[in-house]
Symmetry: C2
Subunit: 597 residues, 2 copies
């Protein structure tokens, strides 16, 4: 039976010591987030994740969701009660405005519980995550009436949310979408069409489901410029906010998937379903991007979350499983064999995961703080700079954290040997669940293209330049520190690789766009590694400072310093190979005729 213990200390170390959340207490909601309050919130998030969500994870995978002949969907035993408990704890509306029943706290703290809940039970967390994304989109683009009608119910967990983009013939290429919206003359629309892969599309956790649906208004232009976004509730909502009859949307089937069996992935059929426009006509993609960006960060967090829970179980197993003697001589001669954690290759596997998890968590929280600044600061230049950061790092966090997070579930499973292949161990579920994160919310190849083709060149490369400047300034500020040199030297080298790769695009991709496409994936990972390397350098600096506080914390800070060195020695060197691949360009890969593949 797998277990999970939320990394509360690590989160508090990052928030308080590395990123010093208190520095932001001029932002709305941050003043309430005192260190004591943050500790209470993070500990509460840990508790509900460990005690309520995690115990349902393995059983939820086995039982899965069931669609009944009438189109109703039942979630696994216990999910409904757990979701109610989660909602009742105020976790859904942690960052939502108090006027809708939320707590108005930093979004950063919502990201923390999203990690914990995803580690504990990814399928169940998704119902909450989609609701939060839809809520954000409604609050950003909704009319006062839409907000009043839907937001309080979603914050309270009485209604949930979904996002409806994909159709059978289009996922990435939304310009091809066919779902249509016909104005009914009363300001509402009749929506008809078929959507597929709709996570949490139908279920029994809430009274109502608020679908955000992309559709084309009759007569709108072809392509992406003719797509609008609609709010389409599962049950119609009366003028008094009460629930009315079924709307014209039904679940045609649920998918049989590799993993996340506890989350219902639905085919939704819309037949003259009543909907209201969300945001402006033909600007639906733009409106949906609010939700997609939040969702992309959330998916990156899922990669980290699965990596973390898989790691914890692998580390526990490695401390317990006795097999073979240490290559340097028996370490526990009184036992029949040494625990496998004495073996260097087992440590290599575990440290690869640990060094990623801790840097990825830092990267996520650093970015979440920027999201708070972008949304809440009164200083326009601070908002702009935070927004640049967010735009640049969102595809990186989505793509890199889900890729490496998945790889890490495989590594963790490997520590179990053959036992990891058996369902009972729970390790193979982490692999199957983590796998989806690389695919949905834009497959990772799309994240890479978004990064290289859109985010890099935007505003004359302002975002990446600002990243270079920030890391460069850190390197310069600390160049005299001998204790930091083992971190700064590799970071400087990898930053150089990133700068060379960026320059290579400037020189080679403007005239030949295929060169950008061909190098995009490696560039996304190169930026991800460099950013995580920067996180480790900052963590190391903080750990050196905190170590002076003495015995209570020294061992933990030493572990940080060693884990960071592992990252620098074993993981960051990859950036050299990434640069070489990028600089090899597109010629070879574009030369092969399609029929010769």
């Amino acid at each position: 039976m797998p277990s999970y213990k939320a990394p509360v200390k690590d989160v508090l170390f990052l928030l308080n010591d590395v990123f010093q959340l208190e520095r932001y207490n001029n932002l709305p909601g941050f003043a309430e987030a005192t260190p004591d309050a943050v500790e209470a919130i993070v500990s509460g998030a840990a508790k509900i994740s460990e005690d309520v969500l995690q115990p349902l994870n393995q059983a939820g995978d086995r039982q899965g969701c069931t669609r009944h002949p009438d189109g109703a969907v039942t979630t696994p035993r216990g999910f409904k009660e757990a979701y109610s408990t989660y909602a009742a704890g105020g976790w859904l509306g942690l960052a939502a405005g108090t006027e809708y029943g939320g707590q108005g706290l930093p979004y950063t703290l919502a990201v923390v519980i999203n990690e914990f809940a995803s580690s504990a039970n990814m399928s169940l967390q998704m119902y909450a995550g989609l609701t939060q994304g839809a809520l954000l989109c409604l609050l950003t683009h909704g009319t006062p009436e839409q907000k009043r009608t839907f937001a309080p119910k979603m914050v309270a967990g009485e209604w949930s949310g979904t996002m409806n983009l994909t159709e059978p013939h289009c996922g990435t290429d939304l310009g091809l979408l066919k779902t249509k919206a016909i104005p009914k003359g009363d300001g509402t629309y009749a929506i008809s069409g078929q959507k597929i892969f709709i996570s949490a599309g139908e279920h029994d956790l809430t009274q109502n489901i608020v679908h955000l649906v992309l559709a084309r208004i009759e007569g709108a232009p072809a392509g992406t410029k003719g797509i609008s976004l609609f709010v389409v509730p599962k049950l119609l909502v009366g003028a008094d906010g009460g629930l009315g009859p079924r709307n014209g949307v039904s679940c045609g089937s649920i998918e049989h998937k590799m993993g996340i069996h506890g989350n219902a992935t639905c085919v939704l059929n819309y037949e003259n379903a009543a909907g209201t426009l969300l945001g402006q006509e033909n600007r639906g993609l733009n409106a949906m991007f609010v939700m997609m960006n939040e969702a992309r960060l959330g998916v990156g967090v899922q990669g980290l979350a699965q990596s973390e829970v898989a790691y914890q179980n692998a580390a526990a197993y490695a401390r317990e499983r006795l097999q073979m003697r240490s290559i340097s001589g028996p370490k526990f001669p009184e036992r029949p064999a040494d625990p496998i954690i004495v073996h260097p290759d087992v440590r290599r596997n575990l440290l690869s995961i640990k060094a990623f998890n801790e840097a990825a968590r830092a990267l996520v929280l650093w970015t979440a703080v920027q999201a708070d600044v972008a949304a809440r600061s009164e200083d326009a230049s601070a908002r702009q700079s935070a927004d640049d950061h967010l735009g640049l790092l969102t595809p990186v966090i989505k793509g890199v954290l889900s890729d490496i997070g998945f790889d890490n579930t495989v590594r963790a499973q490997q520590v179990f040997g053959g036992h990891g292949y058996i369902e009972e161990s729970g390790m193979e579920q982490f692999v199957r669940d983590a796998r989806i994160a690389m695919l949905y919310e834009g497959a990772n190849g799309i994240q890479a293209l978004d990064l290289v083709a859109r985010k890099l060149p935007r505003d004359g490369g302002r975002a990446i330049t600002s990243f270079f400047n920030e890391v460069g300034a850190f390197l310069k500020d600390n160049e005299g520190s001998a204790a930091l040199a083992p971190y700064l030297v590799p970071l400087r080298r990898s930053l150089g690789h990133l700068q060379q790769a960026t320059l290579w695009f400037v020189q080679n991709a403007l005239t030949r766009p295929d060169n950008a496409g061909a190098g995009s994936y490696d560039y996304m990972h190169l930026l991800g590694l460099a950013a995580m390397g920067y996180m480790w350098a900052r963590i190391a600096k903080t750990a050196l400072d905190r170590k002076r506080d003495g015995d209570g914390i020294a061992a933990r800070m030493d572990a940080k310093l060693m884990t960071g060195r592992f990252f620098m020695e074993r993981m960051l060197p990859e950036t050299g190979a990434q640069l070489a691949r990028i600089a090899s360009g597109a010629d070879t890969m574009m030369a092969l005729p399609a029929e010769m593949f």
Copy 2:
């Protein structure tokens, strides 16, 4: 519905053109393997794999195996008939001696059909693969009577074989095994104990099952030096070879696994089961190694096989699926969108798999030919050199081909976007099935340790020195060729990385064995990449030669040359990062206390 077409042309190109099988026609069995005969055999292997085995693969995964209350196990519908057809075609005994009803053909050809059959239906092929491994072990170590009793039935497919090593408390560390064997005084033994993870341990495909079982004879020394190997048939065999009553072995349960659902993975309980000693007392591990080495090559082939079938389906999808326009402008303006194979990143994914598959297949066949030489040559020095090759490259093929093969099933699944996560596509089954290959027959970390701690230093490093010499000679022989330079320059660089890594071990691991353990995994992959780089250089040289034969073959040879260049530009640069990781040593990873993981 996934499909499969065996790579007949590629195999024939490798056997005839690159490795020139005809050069070995002084070896027993090779004279019969004329180019025409080889083509007929390979085509026949393709046909049965495509027509008989593959159509059962997806249904077999869904249905799985069923254990009945009496311990009997039913395999998925159609498996029994397909296995009979396979046996009747003579495929099980392709390389076995004619005196046992085999065809006496090169083992190399048996490896070819193992790849095809594994691509088509890995679960079903395993029943055959284990039978072949057990057969080889019996033929190598058995008494004349054991051979006479068991071999003809196994060759004919009437009886199958298994290997029984693992127990609940020991997988890697066989020294801990507890299954005991008590001499009954008549030359037979009573075997008692529990074995787990026994693939094909119980099933309905054959009349009888021949278990090869590791056990400790009463009073034998502790540890690995007290382990013997026994032949324990499921049904007792009379002096006339006829089947008698049940022996004392039964299937206690079958495992619920991540994949290979069509293969029954059993807990086998032995209670005073009658067995005969195979090979010498207390030399059981040594005898089992014959089977394990063959099995390890076979598992490497499984990695390649899953990579190949996943690739084929991804390439077909990429040619058909219309989504977005090429970044360099529409390629099929008459269609609603371009097929995704126009996108550089999709090509990068596909070419990464293709470039691996073709080099891995070459590496496997090159090594299989060496296995034939080692087993059949009359020239002692040829046998020794072939045996060195086999010892060095077996762990590399097992570890690297299963690792990258698995990664490639994930890449191929990625090409499908969200559709790859849905069971119906068949892509996620390839991922789940391929995953086991990294775990069984010695988890890949064990392969790496075997390579670095045993195979490298053996005989003063004779095997790796001979590898360096062979690749070095090839580089020197071809250094004047401008056409080959794009292959030779990167190969020379990576060979240099491999040599530096080897030297680093000599200088740093003798005094500190943890340095060997810490670098072993990267070294295994570094050697694998360098060996595949050498394969590509040889393929490129052959392709340049064959291209002169004109139009009929030029396009295919051009594709080889381009795919090889992709390997050199995009995949081989990894060796630099691997060397950096190896040379960073063990200090950091050994420093972290176990409780801080």
